[in-house]
Symmetry: C2
Subunit: 152 residues, 2 copies
DNA sequence: GTATTTTATTTGACATATCAAAAAAATACT
DNA sequence: AGTATTTTTTTGATATGTCAAATAAAATAC
């Protein structure tokens, strides 16, 4: 019943970009839902930043560096940091080596929330690859990396 | 030099979600750049809607149905349709079968732009899977579908 | 045949992405 | 040193995503 589409003009459902987009949006919805059910007022992207800030808590990270590490625009980083700072999960301290910049550190609450959410995030990751063999996961990684490179 | 992370707390670059996100964002940037260089004032999401509206130009599609077909929220659809209508690429006509709803049709300009951009989109798709065998593309599709299901 | 529920669309609030531009500090150059 | 360029951060504008709520019409229940 569905009209047959040509190879040069395939149905949307067969377009890889479309499938990647659907997959990612599903993952975001799922993650946000899990956080919400755990009573954590945090989005998936705020989580990513909180994680990286915790990873670098020894020496602190600059917003610019954070943006690079997470593959985001500095402009997006500014806003996410504003929100996390407003929530009291991290703080910007002056960067002694560069007065343009600052260094971001997790607050005690921020470290605590990070530790608390980590096992949930791990469960979500496992849930995503349920039924996948190790080979399949590696292949998926490989394909995604090559595709990203192809579009650079 | 990069500090080794445990299996339960892997570095971000090893997290599948992160890789999917990077891949998708790269694809969006690439598509928007190609459209822009072609002088087409259209985003990747506006393109998707324009495509579907063209696919259904025989009978028209309702906004709600469009949202379902594209896996988007009706709220997002409303806004994208507003923009495309403002650009003169489509029009909403009353739905004779349901007065709550409307039916969306491409304008002549909309059909024309669709035909004009189609070959470029095809090139982008090819670019993305450069170096992939047919088997690999099928596997990628399969993995993405299973992952999406796992998170439903 | 009226009351209740469901459906289709829109709007509002907020988070994030993109790009452009502004501002201030650091660097490079001559 | 003094000027020009680059880097880091922020802000503004716009597009889209999420969810919640409002509205009107359709469908269903009774």
């Amino acid at each position: 019943m569905t009209s047959k589409k040509s190879a040069i003009d395939p149905a949307l459902e067969e377009v890889l970009f479309f499938q990647i987009d659907q997959c990612m949006r599903q993952a975001v919805r799922y993650t946000n839902r899990v956080f919400q059910e755990a009573g954590a007022d945090l989005t998936k992207d705020q989580w990513l930043v909180l994680k990286k800030v915790n990873d670098e808590r020894e020496h602190g990270v600059s917003p610019y560096n954070l943006a690079q590490l997470l593959g985001k625009e500095p402009a997006s980083m500014t806003r996410i940091l504003d929100i996390l700072e407003r929530k009291g999960l991290l703080e910007r301290r002056p960067n002694p080596a560069d007065r343009r910049s600052s260094l971001v550190f997790p607050s005690p609450t921020g470290e605590q929330l990070y530790q608390q959410l980590l096992p949930m995030v791990e469960k979500i990751r496992e849930q995503a690859v349920t039924g996948f063999s190790a080979t399949e996961v590696n292949r998926l990684r490989n394909y995604l990396g090559r595709m990203t490179e192809n579009l650079r």
